[in-house]
Each structure stands twice: as C-alpha cells, then as structure tokens.
C-alpha cells in the first residue's frame, strides 16, 4: 500500500479522467470561440442571401440571448449547488470508506460503487419521479421545484465521485504519516482532520475541478425532465421562431459556445494546477 515513485501517487485519482483530457491539437480559448462564432456567422450570411423577410439567425440569437443566458445562469446555479451538496456528502462518504469499522466501510463502498456506475440520467429520473413535488413538515408545506430535485439528482453521482477522490487522496499519503501521528497519541479522527485531509487538499483539487466541469456540462440533462435551463429554452426559442431548420445550428451552437467558454477555462486551470502540484 505504500506509495511507489512519486509520479504514481496521482494514479489513484485516474478513474475520473481515464483518457487524457487535452487533445493532441491544442486550441486556445480565443480561437475556439472565434471558430464557434464563425459557424454562427456563416449560417447567418447564408440566410441573408435568401431573403430579408425573416430575422437572420444572428438576429434571432441577439433577440433571444437575454432569455437564453438566463437559462445558462440557471445551469450554472444548478451545477454549483449540486457540487456543493455532492462535495459535502462525498466528503462524509469518503471518510466512511476509510472507516475502521468494516461494516461502515462496506456499506459506503456499495453506495459509492452504485452511484458511480449508474448513468446520470437514470439517477436524475429516479430523483425526479420518486421525490414528491412538496413535503409537509411540521404543518408547513415545503415545495420541491423540479430544479431542486435535479440538483439533488446531480449531487448523487458527484457525491460518489468525490468520495472516491477523498479516499484515493488519503490512501496516497504514505502510511508513515499515520504512524508518526499514532506515536504522538493523536486519535484517528484528529489524524484525519489535522494531518491527512490538509495534506490532501492539493491532491484533491484537480480531480475535484474535473468533476465540476463534467457536472456543469451535464446539467443540460435536466432539460429532459423539464427543468427550464438553457437547452430547454433553446428548444422553445427554436419552436417560437417557427422551427426553421436553418436556425438549428446557430441556436444550439450558441449553447455550445456558452458551455465551452465556461468549462474550457476550468479545464485549463485544472491542468495548470496538476502540473504545479506534480513538481512539488
């Protein structure tokens, strides 16, 4: 269980990115954004040549962008909340995975494996349809709108993945640290919170950010269960503009562009952090 070469330490964190995230052809964020923009422009110029009676795709996007961007903000809100929820739960689950109690460790292992290996959409469906739309507690009715249920639905896989990150990071700390803490009479809990977890934060940050980028992109799944996030709104806008086929690419291209501009910097930053922590 002891660590081998230092380069191997992060190997336990690999399951979250089995294949290298970066492409062999590196495209900077700006050129990539330009590429997307050009695609939208090309579609609009193509349209402009056929007749001026209807709005060009670009005009359609400009016209609806406040609504679409509000939808995008909603995606981000859902992703942030489910990440927060999933991280707190995942930390607890991760600590349970490392527990000395065989039973607790086994149960949490099952929970982790279950939620890590279930398709996110299926989990989302389960939460959507199994959780009531409101709960009555102490005679007060607490409504549970769809988006909150979706947040919980995303938080479940996040929890399982964060738990694995926590477990992997703590396991990657040499066992001699445990011994040193033990010989100084630290309790197991003190060792975990004062010595192990603080050392793990650096190791956990890159895979944790990776999970976040995936969550952010996955929030569009909520459109399938009727949450009015960006993808739902994009479909509605498309319908409102008469469902013109030539609007399809520009409208969905706009959604792609938004997600790309949001997630790409996160990935760049993650890669940078990984490189920085590796040299240490």
């Amino acid at each position: 269980m002891k660590t081998g070469e230092p380069g191997h330490r992060l190997a336990v964190l690999l399951p979250y990115r089995p294949a290298p995230v970066r492409m062999s052809v590196r495209i900077g964020p700006l050129p990539a954004a330009l590429l997307c923009f050009c695609a939208i422009m090309a579609a609009s110029t193509a349209w402009a040549q056929t007749g001026p009676a209807m709005l060009s795709p670009l005009q359609v996007i400009v016209k609806w962008s406040p609504l679409l961007l509000r939808g995008f903000a909603f995606n981000i809100l859902i992703s942030l909340l489910s990440m927060l929820l999933g991280t707190i739960a995942g930390l607890g689950l991760g600590l349970a995975l490392l527990s000395e109690s065989r039973l607790l460790a086994a149960v949490s292992w099952l929970v982790t494996q279950f939620f890590r290996n279930a398709p996110w959409l299926v989990l989302l469906f389960f939460v959507m349809f199994l959780v009531p739309f409101q709960v009555i507690m102490f005679k007060t009715t607490i409504p549970l709108p769809d988006w909150i249920k979706a947040t919980v639905g995303f938080a479940l896989p996040v929890m399982a993945n964060v738990a694995e990150v926590v477990r992997g990071a703590v396991r990657s700390i040499p066992s001699t640290q445990w011994e040193a803490a033990e010989s100084l009479s630290f309790t197991r809990r003190q060792t975990m919170w004062l010595i192990m977890l603080p050392q793990c934060i650096k190791r956990m940050l890159p895979p944790w950010m990776n999970i976040y980028a995936i969550v952010a992109m996955s929030t569009v799944l909520a459109s399938i269960v009727g949450v009015s996030e960006m993808l739902t709104l994009t479909a509605q806008v498309h319908a409102a503009e008469g469902g013109r086929p030539e609007l399809f690419a520009p409208l969905y291209g706009f959604a792609l562009l938004c997600f790309f501009l949001y997630c790409y910097p996160i990935n760049i930053w993650t890669a940078r952090l990984e490189r920085r922590f590796r040299v240490r």
Binding site: T176, Q177, E179, A180, A181, E182, S183, L184, S185, F186, T187, Q190, L194, I195, P198, Q199, R280
Partner: protein
C-alpha cells in the same frame, strides 16, 4: 492495569516477546529490561527484528505472545489505553515523518496542543526552546521540505520531546541521512542521554553505540544473541555470530 510502579524497577521490561507476521516469526522470544535513565542500543544485521521490537514497545504493532511492560503497564493488554501509553513513549523514525504541511514550529506544537490540550502560548515557548536545544533556532517557520535530512530529524526529535515522554525510542534515525549530517543528530541524542532521558536506540552507528550506550543488545534472526556493557560486547564478544557481525561493521 494500574500496577504500582516504582522507579527502582525496570521502566521497560520485555519478557519472552514473540511476534509473527503470518507464518514468519520475526521475534522469537526477546527478553530485555531497561532502567530509568539508561541508554540501550540494539544492534544486529538487517532483518533481525530490531525495528519490529521497538515498534512493539509503543504498541504500533501488537505482539503475538509474551509481555512488554512500560512503567508497569502491560502493552499487550487488549484494554490498554494506547494513547495514554504513547504519551509516555516518544518515537523517532528513520524517515523523520514530519508533517509536510506544517512548519517546524507547528510540527513541534501540534501534539501538545491537540493531544494534551495545553495552552498554545505556553506550548510555543516550550517548542521554541526545544528547537533551540536541537540547534534549529531560526528555522521555526521553515517547512520540512526546505530542511536537510539532519535538520528534519532534529525537528522530529524536538516534536517527540514536546510531549515530555519518559522514554524515547529511536528507530535507525541516522540510516537515511547523509554522512555529514549524521553527526548533528547523534550529538542531539547524546545530549538527551546526558540529560538522563531513558533511550532505546536501534542503530547501525557502532561507534556511537559504544560511546553512549549503558548496555548493548546484539540481535540476530529474532533472538538476542548476546548483551552486555559496550566495552565487553565490542571487545570481548563471546558468541561467534556477534564476532562475525562486529568484524564486518567495525
């Protein structure tokens, strides 16, 4: 468990200690006793069970059979309060094992504050004094990664001393060090021994053992082959195995 212990009795008493890892028996009936203020060195070839013995003494590893008593407390007692035991026994490791995310001063201060619940201000005064004692004044705010091996090992010694142990265990503490930094660590240990600290050292530094030890134990393949005061053991070893080992290392 609370047997009355008086300082005239051995502070550490091992009787027929056996320890197996699966089918492999590493300690085959070790008996030794250490009096308060005594310095004993355990020498012997690699794999003879020296480190295992020392780790059993502070209950980092359970023994298979036999008895280890520290100040009259039975270490192999299943109801043993390990934390209470370890407060009496400080341990320094071959690989220093400092906490890398804490400065030298914080490393020394952590256990007294969190384990003994002592006041921070009070602990800090003591921690600074300890770092000065191991000649590391001025390195208080340095992280372990920026210190040399010898310096890290001295921080580790100060960290153990901050718990005010009655006994110090040293597990090959110079084995991972550069030759030029070995001396500074040995000087620190010698000063400690001169101050009257009870020390049990597993070491490969024969000259050092000869110089500081009150009693030297030679172990081979899980048994104590021979023991005695250093002048006798190093110059007039009776057992052929001891003679062969000493001729190789001296």
């Amino acid at each position: 468990m609370a047997t009355s212990w008086t300082p005239d009795r051995p502070i550490v008493q091992c009787v027929d200690v056996r320890k197996s890892f699966g089918a492999l028996e590493v300690l085959k009936g070790i008996s030794l006793s250490v009096r308060k203020g005594e310095v004993i060195c355990i020498i012997g070839p690699s794999g003879s069970g020296k480190s295992t013995l020392i780790r059993c003494i502070n209950a980092l590893q359970p023994i298979t059979s036999g008895s280890i008593q520290i100040e009259g407390i039975e270490v192999s007692d299943p109801r043993l309060d390990k934390l209470a035991l370890r407060r009496k026994v400080g341990m320094v490791f071959q690989q220093y094992n400092l906490f890398p995310h804490k400065t030298a001063l914080q490393n020394v201060m952590m256990a007294p504050i969190h384990v003994l619940g002592q006041k921070r201000a009070e602990v800090e005064v003591r921690a600074r004094a300890l770092l000065a004692k191991v000649r590391l004044a001025g390195k208080e705010d340095t992280y372990p990664g920026e210190l040399s091996g010898g310096q890290q090992q001295r921080v580790a010694i100060a960290r153990s001393l901050a718990m005010r142990p009655d006994i110090m265990l040293f597990d090959e503490v110079t084995a991972a060090l550069d030759p030029e930094t070995v001396k500074e660590v040995l000087v620190t240990i010698r000063e400690l021994a001169e101050d009257g600290m009870t020390c049990i050292l597993v070491t490969h530094e024969m000259n050092f053992a000869r110089e500081v030890a009150d009693h030297v134990y030679f172990t081979d393949r899980g048994v104590i082959v021979e023991h005695g005061p250093p002048e006798t053991l190093f110059t007039a070893a009776k057992d052929e195995r001891t003679q062969r080992f000493l001729s190789q290392v001296l």
